[in-house]
Subunit: 188 residues, 2 copies
């Protein structure tokens, strides 16, 4: 942010406004305060018989790697609607019976990842323009070394663990940088 | 938003960028696209013996009405940390054993309200600068007609219903405008 979006001034400072607790971008000209808050990423693990739907990413980041349908929640929708919309946009997939599976805080990215699990309507799908390829994948065939995101690998591991004991619950956790480049996963 | 925060131009349009699905603010001068996404509000119902902590708001909106500690989640924290921080800032309250209670989409406000329940450490509290007054309140004494927000009234109703049957679960729902000024509540 180089210019104030209210008055166009370039005289922006980073400071803690009076009565506030965190540093914000503040316009020295008009006094506008700009807040930045975490975004929600909504996604879903969709089941068809004993397989789940995976998508190979056609866009950065992690182009060419595999993930589940997921993306930024939009204004005016619910989290579950966002998850269903992403399944439709990225994989032409209609979802059913979505229920909460994981809520993970990606603290280093200022994201909260909310993943549902549900059924893939009719087992039908068709890659969208952000997807190179989509496919149904059994547990034995999950490309664990080619999963695009740590949070998605975590959600898939928890999903198969739940499934093997025939008891699905909501899982919560944090993913954060561990000093360097490594990510640290904390399951609550 | 009147000026592009990247280049300072006032030549902003609202349009659907190529490959996108929703209208965005786009700078005609430098091409920057500005996304707006829902914000998370995190809060908590804190218990001390058979009472819960309520706060009388010292700030708008709904100044003078009662609520539970809650506020916008900040970058760099988890949802549960945000809920605990709000309890500390608004009511000088230390929280313990927080667990998820409600997740409600406030679709008309582009907010996702995530409320935990937990214990009020030592039964101690002290109003913060956004709080006129704080107090412990039994179920029979809840000021139902003076609760600041529909989503908080809903969370409190669900809390006491759970408590009376001695079984706490996670509740999900939507709150939205019903055409006019009325709010419509949908429990999943």
């Amino acid at each position: 942010m180089k210019f104030c979006s209210h008055c166009g001034s370039s005289d922006l400072n980073t400071k803690i406004p009076p009565g506030d607790t965190a540093p914000r971008r503040v316009c020295a000209s008009c006094g506008a305060v700009f807040y930045e808050n975490p975004k929600i990423v909504a996604g879903c693990i969709l089941e068809w018989r004993d397989k789940i739907l995976l998508c190979k990413r056609a866009i950065e980041p992690r182009i060419g790697l595999w993930t589940v349908p997921a993306g930024f929640m939009e204004n005016g929708e619910s989290v579950i609607e966002a998850a269903a919309r992403e399944a439709w946009e990225e994989a032409g997939a209609k979802s059913g019976d979505l229920s909460l599976h994981t809520i993970y805080n990606l603290k280093h990215l200022d994201q909260v990842y909310i993943i549902y699990r549900g059924s893939l309507d009719g087992g039908r799908f068709r890659p969208g323009h952000e997807t190179l390829e989509a496919g149904l994948c059994g547990e034995a065939d999950i490309p664990w070394d080619s999963i695009a995101f740590t949070v998605v690998r975590e959600a898939l591991e928890l999903y198969f663990a739940d499934r093997s004991r025939r008891r699905f619950t909501l899982h919560e956790g944090d993913i954060d940088r561990d000093g360097g480049e490594q990510l640290r996963i904390v399951r609550y």
